[in-house]
């Protein structure tokens, strides 16, 4: 950790969480989904298009365009532009970039958007061309995609820490209960533990309900000064602390922890709080095992004790540890890079009192965590943010 103190995020806030309702398949391109998210943000804020002078974009299916091409497509002339190719960590990392830009005065209002389309072949294309290491050293081994990579680390985690399918199932079932209150969730039917356990194996020990459903969709939020938010009368969320880390613990033979384990002390110290103060947690949940790692590595329980932690809590909206309150990707769907925004946008909803039927009774301090990019054998990007309800 650096000896120099980190600046706080005073005076910078997050608001206007938007979701473009997901679709299993879409004939539109990523531009359509990203454009709709930006449109919702601009209309919802009451700002003119030119007042949004910064844009941050994440997408897997925007190619051959980048954020630059998208700006011409959308008729935007921002003075600050970023493109964050960090998959499931994009939501948190976009916040980190945007908040500092607003704080420094490089931009006034930044629209952070993430979206992807899902055409019938786009998932296979994304997976087969994901990275050079994947192309050379993973894809030729059965072409199982992320299922196979997560199956290996789930196998290792189960062997070493004694987590069972019942434990993973409990999380999936709780998330489904939460999703039933979220109109955006693609999964509309309840899930029982018996159904979870009886599901067919996809890639042992990963079974059907351990996998997310790839889909099309977009998510977005705005970052601006607190003064601007007050002037616009937009409920807002403060930023207490954030972290990110890439390629943490390269010496680990297989992933049993993420970068959060390196940075969680900094996360809490910077926020001046601790895990016991957090009212709810939104994690990146492409597979249940990674939820377990986040419980541990973010300090909610000790390493190797997530299974016990799972057995002690309910994870539902009205339960003892509200968790993935939108239903998470496992029940809402994984809209490409928007999957890296899902938890973040939901947290901003909880903290601005706009979470509808999923609104928690107590949501003052929330944590969002992100995880992404299985470049070879493990997820490389991790990030987390502690957000606090603002007083309008």
């Amino acid at each position: 950790m650096s000896a120099r103190p980190r600046l706080g995020y005073d005076g910078v806030v997050v608001n206007l969480p938007v979701t473009i309702p997901y679709a299993r398949y879409s004939t539109h391109s990523a531009h359509w989904w990203l454009g709709r998210a930006l449109g919702e943000l601009i209309r919802g804020s009451g700002l003119a298009k030119r007042d949004v002078d910064g844009v941050c974009v994440s997408s897997f299916t925007l190619g051959p365009d980048t954020a630059v091409g998208l700006m011409q497509h959308l008729g935007m002339s921002p003075r600050w532009l970023d493109h964050i190719p960090m998959g499931g960590a994009s939501g948190v990392v976009a916040l980190r970039r945007a908040a500092r830009a607003v704080q420094a005065g490089d931009a006034e209002v930044i629209a952070c958007i993430a979206g992807d389309t899902n055409q019938v072949d786009s998932f296979r294309n994304t997976v087969s061309q994901f990275s050079r290491f994947a192309q050379d050293a993973v894809y030729p081994y059965g072409a199982g995609g992320p299922n196979a990579s997560f199956a290996l680390l789930t196998d290792y985690y189960m062997q070493h820490y004694g987590a069972t399918r019942e434990d993973f199932g409990k999380l999936c079932v709780a998330q489904r209960d939460n999703a039933l209150k979220n109109p955006h969730a693609l999964m509309k039917k309840p899930l029982t533990l018996a159904q979870y356990l009886a599901a067919r194996s996809i890639t042992d020990p990963i079974h059907l309900f351990d996998c997310v459903m790839p889909c099309a969709g977009a998510e977005g939020y705005l970052v601006m000064t607190e003064d601007r938010a007050r002037a616009l009368k937009l409920p807002f969320t403060r930023i207490r602390s954030t972290i990110e880390r890439h390629n943490a613990f390269p010496e680990d033979p297989i992933q049993f922890r993420g970068g959060w384990a390196m940075d969680k002390d900094d996360l809490y110290a910077h926020a001046g709080t601790g895990p016991e103060e957090i009212d709810f947690l939104e994690t990146y949940d492409d597979y249940p095992v990674i939820n377990m790692m986040q419980f541990e590595d973010l300090g909610f329980c000790a390493k190797g004790e997530a299974a016990t932690f799972v057995r002690e809590h309910s994870f539902t909206l009205d339960g003892s540890f509200p968790f993935n309150t939108s239903g998470g990707q496992l029940s809402v769907g994984q809209a490409g890079a928007a999957g890296g925004y899902l938890g973040f946008v939901q947290a901003v909803r909880q903290l601005t009192g706009t979470a509808g039927a999923t609104q928690l009774a107590k949501a003052r301090l929330g944590m969002v965590s992100g995880f992404g990019m299985i470049n070879y054998d493990r997820g490389l990007c991790s990030g987390a943010a502690i957000l606090e309800r603002g007083q309008v």
């Binding site: 050293a137 199982g144 290996l152 290792y156 194996s201």
Partner: protein
């Protein structure tokens, strides 16, 4: 333990033949270093010349000290299998047709962590041996094998996808009357080949070993003269749909050393005769048998799998004393490489054998060491079972190969003496 491979059922002639699909073949330029090693059956990874860190996946610069001095070196191939999974779903057509498929994570003693195909005889954890083998796309892949050989391990379906094992396969030996042809036919039968079509280019000539071989009920004598297009086409029309493995033993070598150069002669008759068999014969065979093999490249457990050319190390560096013949070998190699490229899209492997001098009648005056045809046949069987595609047989071939890598000019000068 792997169950022995069952004898393939007789093919139902009205059933559609499954066409070949290939595993993902795209690789970075660096990763082709693995393919170079696998093609010759070596186990090599990049090793940093500055800090000795072993790299995987292949890199451009050292992942530890950022040096760009990465050399391909033989490294310890042992490791611990720390996680496994069995895929019951794949995004790729080739694997979909072959599910379930077992892969795992191996922590190598040499340092890196690799994802590998895992043999069915490997326990869920423990020590494994890694090997680099070519898959059906012709690219190198890692297979984790049990630390010690197990019975029938080469019969495991996943491993068989990287090998060209003759077991239960039908083999055409193009010239069955040569010493080499007879040795290859015998080795194929010993390796479990279901049938050997034994080519006879000279029905008027009696060869005792040939007559003995065809008494075996698995051996079927066939007329085949590779210098005669009609003969080649007639045979392809008759058995072209049943050839799973083709070993081209037809070879032309005449004259004593010194009589076969270029300036020592006033004609090109010897050169033309050598080309007729060694080059045009190969092309005739390819045109007649290639299409059938290509069509049957995924047809059951005994699908068409490999085309073996017995060339010579002098395809790579000429022996001036046999200059005309050396030229025919170089041309044959070039044709073989084209055939390899043309068959690459189907998974039928072209295996090139580069022996040194062979102990046969036209090498009478060549000093030892000379290879017995049986030694070359044995090397062919090993190559097919191990899944390699370039084989340098014998001390002379290996030495010339090594010296070519070191300094090809030195080889030119020294062979000329």
């Amino acid at each position: 333990m792997t169950a022995p491979l069952a004898t393939p059922k007789k093919k139902n002639p009205v059933q559609r033949t499954r066409l070949a699909t290939l595993p993902p073949g795209a690789r970075s330029r660096s990763a082709l270093g693995l393919t170079r090693a696998a093609a010759e059956g070596r186990f090599e990874l990049q090793v940093c010349a500055d800090c000795a860190t072993v790299q995987y996946p292949p890199r451009e610069v050292c992942g530890h000290c950022l040096s760009e001095q990465l050399d391909w070196q033989t490294v310890d191939n042992h490791g611990e299998l720390i996680a496994t999974t069995t895929l019951r779903h794949s995004n790729d057509l080739y694997f979909r047709e072959r599910l379930p498929w077992r892969v795992g994570t191996v922590k190598m003693a040499a340092g890196p962590v690799v994802v590998a195909h895992v043999h069915e005889d490997c326990a869920a954890s423990g020590t494994v041996r890694l090997t680099l083998k070519l898959d059906r796309s012709g690219q190198a892949v890692l297979h984790a094998l049990p630390e010690q050989d197990t019975p029938n391990m080469n019969d495991a379906a996943q491993l068989r996808e990287s090998t060209c094992d003759p077991k239960h396969r039908r083999v055409l030996v193009t010239d069955g009357k040569s010493a080499m042809g007879i040795a290859v036919a015998r080795a194929m039968l010993d390796a479990g080949a279901a049938a050997v079509f034994l080519g006879d280019p000279t029905p008027w000539k009696t060869v005792a070993a040939y007559d003995t071989l065809i008494e075996d009920e698995r051996v079927q004598p066939v007329d085949l003269d590779v210098t005669d297009t009609d003969s080649v086409d007639r045979l392809a029309a008759s058995i072209g749909g049943k050839v799973d493995l083709l070993v081209n033993t037809a070879s032309y070598l005449r004259g004593n050393p010194g009589e076969g150069g270029i300036l020592g002669r006033k004609d090109v008759i010897l050169a033309r005769d050598a080309m007729e068999v060694n080059v045009l014969g190969l092309m005739r065979l390819a045109q007649a048998f290639g299409p059938g093999m290509r069509f049957r490249a995924a047809d059951g457990t005994n699908h068409a799998v490999a085309w073996v050319n017995i060339l010579s190390i002098h395809a790579l560096a000429p022996l001036p004393a046999r200059g005309a013949w050396s030229a025919s070998m170089a041309a044959a190699l070039s044709a073989a490489l084209t055939l390899r490229a043309e068959l690459a899209g189907t998974g039928v492997r072209v295996v090139n054998i580069f022996p040194g001098p062979i102990d046969e009648e036209w090498e009478q005056l060549t000093p030892p060491p000379k290879l017995s045809p049986a030694a070359v046949a044995k090397a062919i069987i090993h190559a097919l079972k191990d899944g390699v595609e370039d084989v340098y047989v014998g001390d002379i071939a290996e030495e010339i190969r090594a010296r070519l890598r070191e300094n090809h000019k030195a080889v030119e000068r020294e062979l000329g003496q």
